[in-house]
Symmetry: C2
Subunit: 314 residues, 2 copies
């Protein structure tokens, strides 16, 4: 992405400001709009607070907090922008009204990404003049540090635009995950929300406190998930046979009340999808080598957790 790229950020709450931090650190020009009283001041304060972290991660050439401009209208914000990131409150009526304004004033070839956590792109683009340039581009807090962005097109999204969008988000050091089937909550929030709801059940049923649940994740699954995700983690828990053995051993637990969530039927087809997925992901690397690498990583991560977080009472 050229360093003269201009991006517009519409809505400067936690997520909008997170985008601004990332865009500025990547050496882009950012034009922001938010109608709330004092929005500009709050944003500049946030960016100043997080700048040292961004410096440590490495700034692009020319990156500067001075390349942020606030403007008083959506029109001025979007009219010269190559990419427009929408981050207004998570309500369909508000998002659609703002997207209509953006649609009126944006360049025809602009990429319009919505940070929505759950609304589908097809819904967002309905009725617009150029619906083909609208996608979901859903990031994770803190946006200036976390690399994941889910990209989901709607029925009317232009295929070539999605390719350009993917290249853009990659160019700002993100990991775009293109999801080809629209569902509410996309992929990452489905996973997070399942865990979150289960956690609320545990609190609600008096099984554990919020702090105990946090500890149960941090010192166990969390350390592993930062590293390999749930599937490859289980692939390594299966010994030399990997996921194939894992599913034999823990498949039956899917029938048990180990969560309030009903499991899908573990059909042969689903089994093969999961096993082949893991085996292809792991490639030719033997499990013992993956284990060595995992262990080196975990040793360093444990030191990090010890140094930084948390002062746990657990």
């Amino acid at each position: 992405m050229s360093q003269s790229t201009t991006v517009a950020v519409i809505g400067t709450g936690v997520i909008g400001n997170g985008w601004i931090g990332r865009f500025l650190a990547q050496g882009l020009d950012v034009i922001a709009f938010d109608p709330a009283e004092g929005a500009e001041e709050r944003t500049r304060q946030v960016i100043q607070q997080v700048w040292p972290s961004l410096e440590k991660l490495g700034l692009a050439e020319g990156a500067s907090q001075k390349r942020l401009t606030f403007v008083p209208t959506i029109e001025e914000a979007v009219q010269n922008a190559a990419v427009i990131q929408e981050n207004v409150p998570e309500r369909e009526d508000i998002k659609k009204s703002v997207l209509t304004s953006i649609d009126q004033h944006a360049k025809p070839d602009a990429i319009i990404g919505s940070s929505t956590s759950g609304i589908m792109a097809t819904t967002l683009q309905q009725g617009l003049q150029y619906p083909g340039r609208v996608i979901v581009a859903h990031p994770f807090n803190p946006v200036y540090l976390l690399p994941l962005v889910e990209l989901v097109g709607g029925e009317e999204t232009d295929t070539a635009l999605m390719e350009r969008a993917k290249a853009f988000y990659q160019s700002i050091e993100m990991k775009p995950l293109v999801i080809n089937k629209e569902i509410e909550g996309h992929v990452a929030d489905r996973l997070m929300e399942a865990l979150w709801r289960e956690a609320l059940h545990l609190v609600n049923d008096g099984i554990a406190t919020t702090e105990e649940i946090d500890a149960a994740i941090i010192y166990g699954a969390g350390l592993r998930w930062a590293q390999m995700g749930p599937f490859l983690t289980f692939h390594l828990a299966g010994g030399d046979q990997g996921m194939r053995h894992m599913l034999e051993q823990f498949g039956p637990a899917l029938k048990k009340p180990w969560t309030k969530l009903e499991a899908p039927e573990l059909t042969d087809e689903l089994k093969e999808k999961v096993i082949e997925g893991c085996e292809s992901h792991a490639g030719d690397v033997p499990i013992s080598e993956l284990e060595d690498k995992r262990n080196e990583f975990l040793v360093k991560l444990l030191d990090l957790v010890e140094d930084y977080w948390p002062q746990s009472k657990i």
Copy 2:
């Protein structure tokens, strides 16, 4: 824990071997039993493989792979052990039969911990001579590195024994989480299983591949959960108002089909439990300071992920 403590490990699969690695690294004497052909050789190979990681993490004085002995009977394994860790296959009949043998030969004051992922302590201790010394002590793979161990007593578990057990697991550098209410799957596996089932649904419904799901966790939620767990993570996503604002903003999503798991009703009582839990966990530290600390941690963790894992195609 004195360095002359002897621990017995019954069953030397992935989990049993993980315990052996941790016990040896902590300078304990380990006596192992497993009836499978070639078990001792496999265990010694595993321990040799993981020893460099244990060295990097730091060995206790006197720690040595030579302090591992295999014996041919349960009786010989447990008769002098202060702590006995049971890791036989996850089937109630097998576990109960093995625990009956352990019960016959163990010292009356020995701590008997079962690594069961899901069976309740009350079930395991039923019918034993000294049921009071049996607890669930559920670890996470790789046991020699991950600090979490869930301790759950049964109806007949002795309170003082649980205190001794907690002190023992702390002495070997673990984070024991004592759970006061027995449920199948305890706490951590409930959370993991909810996410795992949702992940299987996503694969089953053709929404994402296993590798995409792993990426969706690693580059987003996983990095955060390694750090703060789900509650404190959301506390920080709520801006200055923390969890209170978060629940206002994303509480309504609990009504949406964002996962296949039904959420509990977000009653005022549940809200307060969650908000107060987070506020008390965070203590007097202002959110902006928590953010600074989180950011420093994440910057280093991102470097680690980059260095070690994964060679992702995403």
